[in-house]
Amino acid sequence: MIKGESQVSRKVVKEDRIAICPQIGCIHLEKVKPLKFGILGFRKYPKCSEHKIPLIFVEEFIGNLFEAVNTCIFDISSLSPETLIDLIKTSASDELIKFINGWMYCNPIGRGAQVISQYVDGLTRAYIKSLSRKQKKVLNNEKKSKNQYKMLRSGLKKIADDYTTFLKEFREKSEQLYDQEYLNPFSDKLQIILKTWLKKYLNTIDPIKKENSFEDLSENETLSLLKEKYDKILHSETCVILLGKSPTVVVKSISAFELFSAYHEFLEAGLCHELKIKDLKLLIEESEEFLNGNEEEILDTQKENENLNKSINKLDKSKESIRYDEKIDKVIKADMLNFRKKVETNLNILSTIKCTKEQKELIKLESQMILDEFFLRLENNEIKISNKTNPKIIAAAIIYTVIIANETLPKISVPELTGVPKYSISKYYTKYFKEYYTNKNFNFPPYYGFSRIRNALSFYIFDLICSRKEKVAKIAFTLVNDILENINLPTQLSNKDIDLLHSLINNHYDKFLKYLNDLTEVIKQIYGSSLLHKKIGIRLVVKPIAECLYKKDINLFQSFKQFYYSVIEIYDSLKVKFPNAIPHRSKTQYSYNKGAIVIGSRIKLYIIAHIYNGIYNENLIKCPLCLKEGFKTNTDISRLKALDFHHDQNGKEYKYSSSALYEMYMKNQTNPEFLENLIKFMESKKVVLVCASHHDIISGKYFNYFRDLISWQGLSNRFPQNIFSLSPELIHTLVKISINIHNKTKNLSIKQKGYIKLSLISLLKRRYIIESIYGDKCHLCGEFNTKDHLVSFQFNHNNKDTKTLLASDLFKTEALSCSEIVQTLDQEEGGYICANCHSVIDNNTYLNSLNEIYNDKSIAKKALTDYNICTRNFTLLHNKNSIKNPLKLSKRLSDNFEQFLYAIYELSKLGNSITNISIASYLGLSSRKIVSSFFTRNDYMKLYVKINKTEKVYKYSLTKKGVEAVSLMKYFKDYYKDQ
């Protein structure tokens, strides 16, 4: 690998340079000094003391190294191995192109690109380290000539350029070899194929690794064998990455130095060829042709040959046996020959099988061999046939035997092919061929009627799980022991059944154990889910259980459909045997709406009854806050839908409405601990039970902050007793003052304060509208009122089909006045009621499910009556002429309203006449004109301020309303100051 021109010659070295042993992986690195005495110098060509090969300069070596890396990564051997391609062609042909694309994508990393960087990193560090202190000093001194150590510096530049080129080529070459669009994850099936292939492939690497007979081979042959080994390791690595696992093969089996050194040698020996686009195109074209059906005959030739040889050997043996036998009676022989001809004729059906030519040949050959053996045993009286034996069934059984005894053959439905019923084929196979040709694809259940035995075993397992006598993981082993010792077994098992189980244990121990473990898991899951469904009191749907188990690879050796039916059969047999432990089964899932209502409500009832050790159950399940306020209608369990779970801010992301609970159930219906875990979690979040109305009130943050202002309660008699008798300007000002002074809101941004003001004004609008139309209480229950419970009032649309908007949206702007809102709501056909009554009146599906929700029919009846009363008494909102606009501002309100009133109030205390000048001076305004223009522009001020004009001087004093307004402003300022 050493190139002539790169050999280090001390003759030509003009200054110190760094040279390295070209053996990749060798750490020999030395500084080469110029010869002091010209031709008389010693060690003209410095060599590595270990490898005895001349050194080369590092910068040139780096170039060689990258050449080796590129050779390794982009060698033609980086294409996927043919054995793997063939396997995918036969087993997952639809993913072939995707696989090739994925393989080429993973190749650079799979072939060790990542480890090269570690080596390069180490190498450059070594280079830098080898500089002497003097060199570094000289190099760092600006005053010295730039030409000093020129070689050393240009060496470093060469390294930098090599890095750049490598990065560029690496990207460009990699990109050409795959298509980003088709890089999709592989199916489970393809992953299994890759896993199986990799397992076998890794086994083929070791023998080569241990090979010691290289001595007998030529150098090139040795290198070829070595390359084969390295290619296999790198193929395995790529395959590992395709399976989504971190690459380990290269790291563990082969070092970066060794790998790239080897590839450099392969390159030198002419064993490497760069992978070209055309190579890849060719492979893809071949694959596409195969997918189009033009290449039907591709087969794993290696395996095929093995099978053929095996068959030929067996046939030879049979023929020898036939020649050996000379005792056959001639008459019988004639009948036999006749019968044989008929069987052979029926074997011709093979020509119609859809498989490759080689596979057909193989089946034909093996069938002939089995046929020979069959007649040999017949002639030896080892087996017997009757006159009624059907040659067609024998032929079908022979074909069946060939197919099931050979793993490489495709699955062909023999009953479909021959028209012979499956049970007849199975019967003949068991009778004549099973002993000699075992089923390589043996699956449980071993025969059609095995479900009876399975159900009997299920009782045994269910008993152990219920009684907790045995750990679940050990049940299968215990059962195997009991079968072998014939003890503790269910009475349903006959001696014949036990014999069959014995033979399964003896012949297929691993599979049988897996089957029993699967069965135990199925029953454990049924038991757990039954407990859960019994608690909730609903029917169980089996399908999610089967799906959940199947995902965990628990399948009783069946496809999902078969497995699902098996789980149903097991469930039904357990239900018959243990009717109290197993709930009824439902064939279909509820629709989402129905499920959310029935199952969600039943879970809610269970939680209410059990949370905090049943604290709510003691009060007959009632909202504690309603109970405190002495409400009757709203505390009844028949209003279950109105019961909510309230949690503090920390747990807000979890909701516990019926639909949310139903969604949780859907995800956890196979988890027996679901309810207990949920309750524990809710307890940890300090969740409490409240009705929907009180929930709204608790959650109405700003309503609670400013409840007294909104409800206008607790004010002395000197103030007006109705907030709506005040002017809109004063109401808005009071709201603003309260927000600005309240401890919780005073430090918020202007934008946030604006939002809060809008919320409070909208609450006042809602209050005005409800009180103007319905009075101050919920017109259905008569318990919740507009002063203490304003936020719990909701607009109910009587007819969901005519609903065009959300009533709350009308309040989100100050632009709409109360009369305009009422006018719009009038067309929506609905009315205001409290949240609890809303939940009663709102849902018809709920009403139709009452009997499924409540076990106690009297409660269901009560809920129905409640609904009927609510719907009967519900009054639509109608537009009334009396609706005014108590909150509509005539023009935009500024802070001046408050400031001017205060100024006049304070100045009036001093007893002086109040003029434009005195107000401007009090407020620190630059001009008195500002004062006069304010009063001129804002007409509404006349209500609060009296203006006298004498001798061109304006004099101001507060009216009675003005004094009242200032008092109110002061009152709320003081009131909310300490809140």
């Binding site: 994508y105 570690q118 990193d121 001194n141 994850p185 696992k245 992301e653």
Partner: protein, 222 residues
């Protein structure tokens, strides 16, 4: 180079702007090496190594992404390191903003600023530029360390790391014009990785976002 003040003197010693701005490659290289060549060549090989590490992580991620729900992964040292990285980057970008450099034209503006400092040295800008260089090397250091972790199990963190590497590699070329070719290639490589991981995450989030709320609940219930 004129040395106006002590602070500028320090800056000029450590950050020889002359070498950044000259364009004669051969002499430039020698000039550059005098200052910090030995460190930079190490940095180049380290950059190569980190890039290949990130590339490997994405390759692994692509074929394992659907096997796990990364949202359920707990915070570990990797997440913590990425958080540190983000806070460093926040400082870095704030400092850039202080000099008037915006994200969109970060490389170009940095180049102009270096030229400006060379012609009209300014104490404030010099110290800010020193801060930028310091932060940049800290970020790279973290990115190198992070590249050695199993980031394929932390796709969001991997995404962040690659995004940062992408931005920084465009600026590195400005600071070290002699390696601009190397950093240009590196930037192209990182851009490609960034595109790839963005697509992967979108694909994955489409699969997972459907029932994320339910999964949140299930996380504690299962």
């Amino acid at each position: 180079m004129t040395k106006n003040a002590n602070s500028q003197e320090v800056f000029i010693d450590s950050y020889n702007t002359t070498s950044y701005l000259e364009h004669d490659v051969d002499s430039d290289f020698l000039e550059w090496y005098i200052v910090e060549g030995s460190n930079r060549i190490n940095e180049l090989s380290r950059q190569l190594r980190s890039f290949l590490n990130y590339k490997s992580n994405i390759t692994l991620l692509r074929f394992s992404i659907f096997k796990m729900d990364y949202r359920t992964l707990k915070k570990d040292s990797i997440s913590k390191r990425v958080e540190d990285l983000i806070s460093l980057f926040t400082r870095y970008s704030k400092t850039l903003v202080m000099i008037g450099i915006e994200y969109e034209s970060i490389a170009e503006k940095t180049r102009n600023l270096l030229q400006k400092i060379k012609i009209q040295p300014n104490n404030h800008e010099i110290s800010l530029m020193k801060e930028i260089k310091h932060l940049e090397s800290e970020i790279w250091k973290n990115l190198h360390i992070l590249s050695e972790s199993e980031l394929n199990y932390h796709p969001q963190e991997l995404h962040t790391a690659i995004k940062l590497a992408c931005i920084l590699s465009s600026v590195e070329g400005v600071f070290y014009p002699l390696f601009s070719d190397f950093y240009t290639e590196l930037k192209l490589d990182y851009l490609k990785l960034e595109k790839e991981i963005t697509e992967l995450l979108q694909l994955n989030s489409t699969e997972q976002s459907k029932d994320i709320e339910i999964k949140k609940r299930m996380g504690i219930l299962e």
